[in-house]
């Protein structure tokens, strides 16, 4: 639907359509510089810092995935901990057979993605609230099922083998790089998915599902794709957690199958800004700051995080990034389209937001 509009606009040769008002090449260059600097961190900061950053990168990965689900596809899943936990087990199981846990990360990613197919089949008919609780029940069932298998630790979990005799500093650096690679790939995947046809399809569904369906959009297929990608991303993050903690503990309270993982990803996304790629990044930063300052007060950081998320959901729906965007009108990851009014030039001063086509804001 939007594609045809786009084409007609282009054929008239009067109105220019670009991805962003600004030149994105600089943003892209900036992103590469940031990633390179982050990659050099093990050489320049203490290992304590990288250890904290590994947690941050895990949260960033899962928050980006949850954002893709809830922010772009309207799928509020409360069961992402199922894929997160499965990812951890998909690293553990090959490691028990001698494969390096780092090499198992792709297995965890693909494995969690494949596991998403049957689970999607079970919940695909449900919408919003019922989808949310049904995914939660599914996650619980997956956790209970895994806990029945005694050879992978049953209900108590297992230490992760495969790192015996490895220099702890080197291991810490490798873990950090693995977490960084997973997080960067996750964000890149979301970015390119949304720039692709799928992004348009999801926007069409979000704006009017019935209209999209009658225009020939394969709504179910688009949602399935998002669900599978989000599961794969959460699986990869779970795999990183297993490597980081050097063990896999199941259990729905405190373990890899804990609903708190979904709470963390949801809160980070909502605080940062649901439905923007920048949101989860900003939200993860807020999450990590809160977690680090309040970590000596046990559960308080989750209480405060939850209250902040509720407040933001009610009073600043576009999150912190929405506030930034309102003020400065910037998008680091442009996935929508910008419609130039005739004669408009790049880098014109002032806020010309009225001219924004805002296909995917």
């Amino acid at each position: 639907m939007s594609v045809t509009t786009d084409a007609t606009v282009r054929s008239e040769e009067k109105i220019k359509v670009t991805r962003s008002r600004r030149n994105v090449a600089w943003t892209g260059l900036g992103a590469i510089v940031v990633v390179v600097v982050l990659a050099l961190f093990p050489y320049i900061v203490y290992s304590g810092t990288t250890a904290i950053m590994v947690q941050g990168l895990i949260v960033l990965t899962i928050a980006s995935m949850w954002n893709l689900l809830a922010g772009y596809a309207g799928l509020v899943s409360v069961g992402q901990q199922a894929f997160f936990g499965l990812g951890a087990y998909f690293v553990l199981i090959p490691a028990m057979h001698g494969l390096s846990p780092f090499l198992s990360l792709p297995i965890a990613t693909v494995g969690a993605g494949v596991a998403a197919f049957p689970l999607w089949w079970l919940v695909s008919r449900l919408r919003l609230g019922y989808f949310a609780i049904a995914t939660w029940v599914l996650a619980e069932a997956v956790a209970l099922f895994i806990e029945q298998i005694q050879s992978i630790g049953g209900g108590t979990g297992m230490p992760l083998p495969g790192f015996a005799g490895m220099d702890p500093k080197l291991l810490a650096a490798y873990t950090y790089w693995a977490a960084l690679v997973v997080a960067v790939l996750a964000i890149a995947a979301v970015y390119f998915l949304l720039r692709s046809r799928l992004g348009l399809v999801l926007t069409a569904i979000r704006d009017d599902e019935t209209a999209a369906r009658t225009s020939g959009v394969k709504v179910g297929l688009a949602r399935l794709l998002v669900f599978v990608v989000a599961a794969a991303g959460c699986g990869a993050a779970g795999g990183v957690l297993a490597i980081d903690q050097l063990q896999v503990v199941p259990g729905t309270s405190g373990g890899v199958f804990s609903v708190q993982w979904t709470a963390i990803m949801a809160f980070a996304t909502i605080i940062g800004g649901l439905g923007t790629i920048e949101g989860p990044i900003l939200g993860t930063a807020v999450y990590m700051i809160l977690e680090q300052t309040l970590q000596s007060y046990n559960a308080w950081y989750l209480i405060i995080l939850g209250l902040v998320a509720i407040g933001i959901a009610l009073f600043a729906r576009r999150g912190l990034w929405g506030l930034v965007d309102d003020r400065f009108n910037i998008r680091l990851f442009p996935v929508g389209y910008y419609l130039w009014s005739p004669g408009e030039r790049r880098r014109r001063p002032g806020r010309q937001a009225e001219g924004t086509a805002g296909v995917a804001g």
Partner: protein, 291 residues
């Protein structure tokens, strides 16, 4: 004999699950609100019950109306403030807000009451006693009382909604908010009353659960909410009697699972839930009329 026992126990537990599901079902039916904090609110009710008995030293039975009244007031206030503003902003916000509330309550309980499990001390011999029907079949009075309570609650809800004046008002507002508003009904107040009513059942569910076993901060999500939802789905949406059937099916499935292997108890319940979701998504009791 073990199997017969499992089925009887399952049926009786089903009453408790139906009690869990009442409030969830009612809130969804009237306000279209899927309350992800449902289970945690029931846990809060159980903790209030424990607190009331411990602090003012009253007999257990006297604490029940106090807890129900507190929860009803909480329900009205929550609906008028948090839930209503969330509903106004769409279903996505509702989910985020109630999920946030769920996590906040769970962690607040953890913070203030530690992760230890507690039970509601009833101090009555009736509760711990049981009677025997035939060889080896012991039935606890408490389970029978809770089952009866669930049936009474469902019956009165059914009667209230279908026959009383205020019940009709609630149904009218649920059906068409604007039309009811035009006819002079303040839908916010009606929603508040419906929420208060739902929270009464939530309070009873929490207390009943605290009596049969023990509550801990995570009980709300990993037991009450998920069992309530499973009962609603198995029984079929929008039918109070379906909820009872759903609760019973879930309870029986769990008891049969436990009979095979004690660690299969929860899994068996969820497998039945998933099977219903696949084979009969409209639930066991509702006919396939609307898609």
């Amino acid at each position: 004999m073990g199997w017969v026992n499992a089925i009887i126990q399952g049926i009786l537990t089903g009453g408790l699950y139906a009690l869990f599901a009442c409030g969830l079902s009612l809130m969804f039916g009237v306000m279209k609100l899927v309350n992800l904090a449902h289970g945690d609110l029931a846990t809060v009710a159980a903790y209030i019950g424990i607190g009331v008995i411990a602090v003012i030293h009253i007999p257990f039975l006297w604490s029940v109306p106090i807890v129900v009244a507190i929860m009803a007031a909480l329900g009205y206030v929550l609906q008028r403030s948090l839930f209503q503003s969330a509903i106004n902003r769409g279903e996505l916000t509702t989910l985020i807000v109630t999920f946030g509330l769920s996590i906040v309550i769970e962690n607040a309980l953890l913070q203030f009451f530690t992760a230890n499990s507690r039970g509601i001390g009833t101090g009555s011999s009736l509760i711990s006693s049981s009677f025997s029907i035939g060889a080896g079949l012991q039935i606890a009075w408490l389970d029978v009382v809770i089952f009866a309570l669930a049936v009474v609650v469902l019956l009165s809800l059914q009667y209230f909604l279908s026959s009383s004046k205020y019940g009709r008002l609630i149904r009218a507002v649920a059906d068409d908010r604007e039309a009811a508003q035009l006819a002079g009904a303040d839908y916010r107040h009606v929603f508040g009353i419906a929420a208060a009513l739902a929270f009464c059942t939530v309070a009873l569910a929490g207390i009943a659960y605290g009596m049969t076993t023990v509550v801990s901060p995570t009980t709300g999500t990993d037991t009450i909410l998920l069992f309530a939802f499973a009962a609603v789905v198995i029984g079929g949406l929008g039918s109070l009697w379906g909820t009872l059937v759903g609760g019973i099916v879930l309870g029986v499935a769990q008891q049969i699972g436990a009979q095979i292997n004690i660690s299969y108890e929860l899994l068996a319940g969820y497998i039945v839930f998933l099977a219903v979701l696949v084979i009969r998504p409209q639930g066991l009791t509702t006919r396939r009329s609307q898609s």
